[in-house]
Symmetry: C2
Amino acid sequence: MDKNLKKRETMHRLCAKGLEVFHEKGYYNTNLDDILKDLSLSKGAFYHHFKSKEDYFIAIVQNLVQQKVYALLVEPLNTHENPLPVILDSIEKALEPGRPNEIAYGFMLNDFITEFSKRNEEIATYLRDILKVWEVNLVSILKRGKVDGYIARHVDCEGAASYIIASYLGMRTLLAESTNRQLKYNYVQQLKLYFNAIEERQVVA
Amino acid sequence: MDKNLKKRETMHRLCAKGLEVFHEKGYYNTNLDDILKDLSLSKGAFYHHFKSKEDYFIAIVQNLVQQKVYALLVEPLNTHENPLPVILDSIEKALEPGRPNEIAYGFMLNDFITEFSKRNEEIATYLRDILKVWEVNLVSILKRGKVDGYIARHVDCEGAASYIIASYLGMRTLLAESTNRQLKYNYVQQLKLYFNAIEERQVVA
DNA sequence: GCTTAAACCGACCCGCCGGTCGGTTCCATT
DNA sequence: AATGGAACCGACCGGCGGGTCGGTTTAAGC
């Protein structure tokens, strides 16, 4: 059963490198040869494992992007603490690439969604669904925060969730290629100010 | 001098239609024939007026996009009133297409910058410069607001400006193709809450 | 060690689209 | 009416890149 291992190994290498290159240069601006050359693989090898470039990308999204976004931005919300610091912390961590040159997974969503919105509605939907999961989890933790007396009663949780997501996505356009640490820091500071505005003044001890 | 008029007329028609189609389908996903067919013009006519597709797009950006963004988001800031309502109002107006199906000019910046960041750094720079002008004007009106006692002293004006821009740009990704009126309304509401957080509590009468 | 199928190779195909170019039409000027 | 140049036409070119396909290598099973 060494063959089976080889297959998984090759597909994994393809996906990892694909994510890297697609993220760096965009999907439509990347040609398969660029990736295959890097991995010393041939067209034949590629089409043995994937039906098409599109199929390949969907596999990458489902196996890598989705998992990482959930791990960084959704799972941390599964707690009963004060929601606002939890959200802030998850976003801060998501913005901070752990190892040097690691990819900020949240950011690539903005790029890919923008790219596919005009080109391929099917893939755009896959990507938007990932955001949607983040959104419903944000809404639900915010609502619980209201019940628990952490968040002001007047706050519209759906509105707040989209607003948080929007600002997070928009940062990508501003950061662009420059890994501007200052900008990231500023963003988190302003988000804190916004959180001040929606938190319950008299915390129910 | 009828020839001169004809030239301007044709170039104007090309730019207007180009903006419409590029915005709808993206620059790289639009081929010139799509545009030329709509206008009943030929390749020859096009290359008589523009050096290249790229040259054409730059003309569109400078003649249409830049002008509109400045008119909607920069010029309104040139006032001595309380900055926060002024900013809010300009953004609200910019989000609201006047005539039905008119383009929200701010939004296209996010799309175009994302598209060109990975493909053509020269054009990306043109586009980012437009944002930059908005940013410096935001910073300056915020700083004046601080002096005039409208904005809390602790506020980082540069940070606030990028944060406002980020949230505005990020909305595009969420709105995508659906002209979701509710989402726009929610966004403005949350922006108001953020503005509450940065305004001076004791307004100097 | 032979068979068989999976894994892989790489030359080739072909549609798409930006750009070219030799020509035609229109119109201001004389 | 003749001229010349601007505006425009549209068939064609050529590179690029996704996808194909016949062939070769590798290794599991017997």
